[in-house]
């Protein structure tokens, strides 16, 4: 977190610079099945973030040394397109994208019924086309929808969502300015059916009470986004039928 307190992020009426209330999230649009080649795919627009995701598999994992006898491995690549950020980023992975790929894969492994596909691999390709704070959450949401679109059995979907703190106030779903100049960010991956978490990161400064309020906001938003996810999948299947 930047934590630069001298940038004003809240209006006098308590609303945020873009007019949202503290517990209001940015608009979310989702489409399933947007990539002809993939076994499953999704497009997520969360605020100004755009993430697309393709799922390929399950196929036999190779080389053989990556195979697991009792389950599928999930291979996630989270990648930011060079033109997705304010300053162009060089193509290829960096330390940040490798870390996000790792923890995203581990989150998805927690809900996919990987034991149904021994010795196989499921590839999840997340591409960020536009970034405006919150891309890892948009990527998790997109990956869940794409896996469902691919017909891969899951215990539950995972909804990616974040809350944080700006000007000592807990707010839901930080945008770019709030992320740059705010005090904390808590992105999570929530299983909407149970409220359990499969993904958790946080940086900044939060008291235990502030943390609890963040989580409350996140749980509420997860339900809203979950509805949009379900709607996208339904539209796809009705179209296909």
């Amino acid at each position: 977190m930047g934590g630069y307190g001298d940038v004003k992020l809240l209006n006098d009426d308590g609303t945020r610079l873009d007019g949202r209330k503290v517990d209001e999230m940015r608009s979310v649009e989702i489409k399933a099945g947007i990539l002809p080649n993939a076994d499953g795919s999704a497009w997520v627009k969360h605020g100004l973030n755009v993430a697309i995701c393709a799922v390929y598999g399950p196929v036999e994992a190779h080389p053989r040394k990556i195979q697991r006898q009792d389950r599928a491995v999930i291979d996630v690549r989270y990648n930011m397109a060079p033109f997705s950020t304010s300053d162009r980023i060089r193509p290829g992975y960096n330390r940040r994208s490798r870390e996000i790929s790792k923890v995203t894969a581990e989150a998805l492994e927690s809900v996919v019924l990987v034991e149904r596909f021994p010795r196989s691999k499921i590839s999840v390709e997340i591409e960020i086309l536009a970034a405006e704070a919150g891309t890892r959450c948009a990527g998790i949401t997109a990956a869940s929808v794409a896996l469902a679109d691919a017909g891969i059995p899951m215990r539950d979907l995972i909804v990616g969502v974040a809350s944080g703190k700006i000007e000592d106030t807990v707010v839901l779903d930080l945008d770019k300015a709030e992320d740059n100049y705010g005090q904390a960010d808590l992105p999570v991956g929530i299983l909407p059916t149970t409220g359990d978490l499969a993904f958790l990161q946080m940086d900044g400064d939060l008291s235990p009470d502030e943390f609890n309020l963040c989580m409350e906001y996140n749980q509420k938003a997860a339900k809203e986004i979950h509805e949009v996810m379900i709607k996208a999948l339904k539209e796809k299947y009705e179209e296909g039928a």
């Binding site: 697309i52 393709a54 950020t85 162009r88 591409e127």
Partner: protein, 261 residues
């Protein structure tokens, strides 16, 4: 690796060719349906999405400020690159840039660069000190054949809608990038023994060599490239060069009507 499918496919494509047909019903010199959307990516200074049959390509333009090359003190630079990441299809693997992606980027780059559509002198900020570098990144998200033409189209369409983000660099006010020409690429693939325009994924899988032609507004050649195994005769080339003139005109109109600078 046993390649049974391509062998059967090659036979089928040859049989169709003998009857003057293609697998998806198109004629020899007929392209698939093409959709072009511009200015579609937040954070990119210029952008385009091309949907070409089932092939989908994004192009995004970004600027940087850099020192000029010592031998070109008053010129900025243009660089096109392409990524063929695993999202684009089953055959793509993660890893360092493949020869395929390097070729794609370089062939698109040459077509745009050699057409002279960008006056590199107009990208100078302070002679000998700072110039703009223009980076066009091509991102193929679905490869169902003929990614070269789709990429070249996305690149020039993105450039034509590009705003130079001068205010971000404190080098003036934002202004449209000046693009004076519209180079267009048209590619041909040998399928079933004869060349066809705009091969789809099956035709590429069961086909042979490709020829990529980039033409300028005046019908001049700016870039040529032959790829994959196969030879062709001068007469065959003369025919596809002729055909490409028409197709490039059609695509150029599509780009120009998509709006831009």
């Amino acid at each position: 690796m046993v390649e049974l499918v391509p062998q059967l496919l090659r036979q089928e494509l040859a049989d169709l060719a003998a009857m003057g047909k293609r697998r998806d019903g198109r004629s020899q010199w007929e392209s698939r349906h093409i959709e072009l959307e511009v200015d579609c990516l937040y954070n990119a200074d210029g952008s385009a999405k091309v949907t070409w049959g089932d092939t989908i390509v994004y192009a995004g333009v970004k600027f940087e400020i850099r020192q000029p090359w010592p031998d070109r003190p008053s010129e900025g630079s243009l660089m096109c690159g392409a990524e063929l990441r695993p999202i684009a299809g089953k055959k793509y693997e993660p890893g360092p840039p493949s020869p395929e992606s390097i070729e794609l980027g370089r062939v698109v780059d040459r077509g745009i660069r050699e057409s002279g559509c960008i006056d590199l002198g107009s990208l100078c900020v302070i002679p000998g000190e700072s110039v703009y570098g223009v980076m066009v990144d091509i991102h193929v998200v679905s490869d169902s054949g003929n990614i070269f033409d789709a990429s070249a189209l996305a690149a020039i369409a993105a450039l034509r809608t590009t705003i130079v983000p001068a205010s971000k660099f404190d080098t003036g006010e934002d202004h449209p990038l000046k693009i004076t020409k519209t180079p267009i690429m048209c590619s041909f693939t040998r399928v079933g023994g004869r060349f066809v325009m705009d091969a789809n994924a099956d035709e590429e899988l069961g086909g042979d060599e490709r020829i990529h032609i980039t033409l300028g507004d005046d019908g001049h050649l700016h870039s040529l490239q032959k790829g994959l195994k196969g030879v062709f005769s001068p007469a065959e080339f003369a025919e596809i060069l002729e055909v490409s003139q028409n197709q490039c005109d059609v695509l150029r109109k599509m780009v120009e009507s998509a709006g831009g600078n």
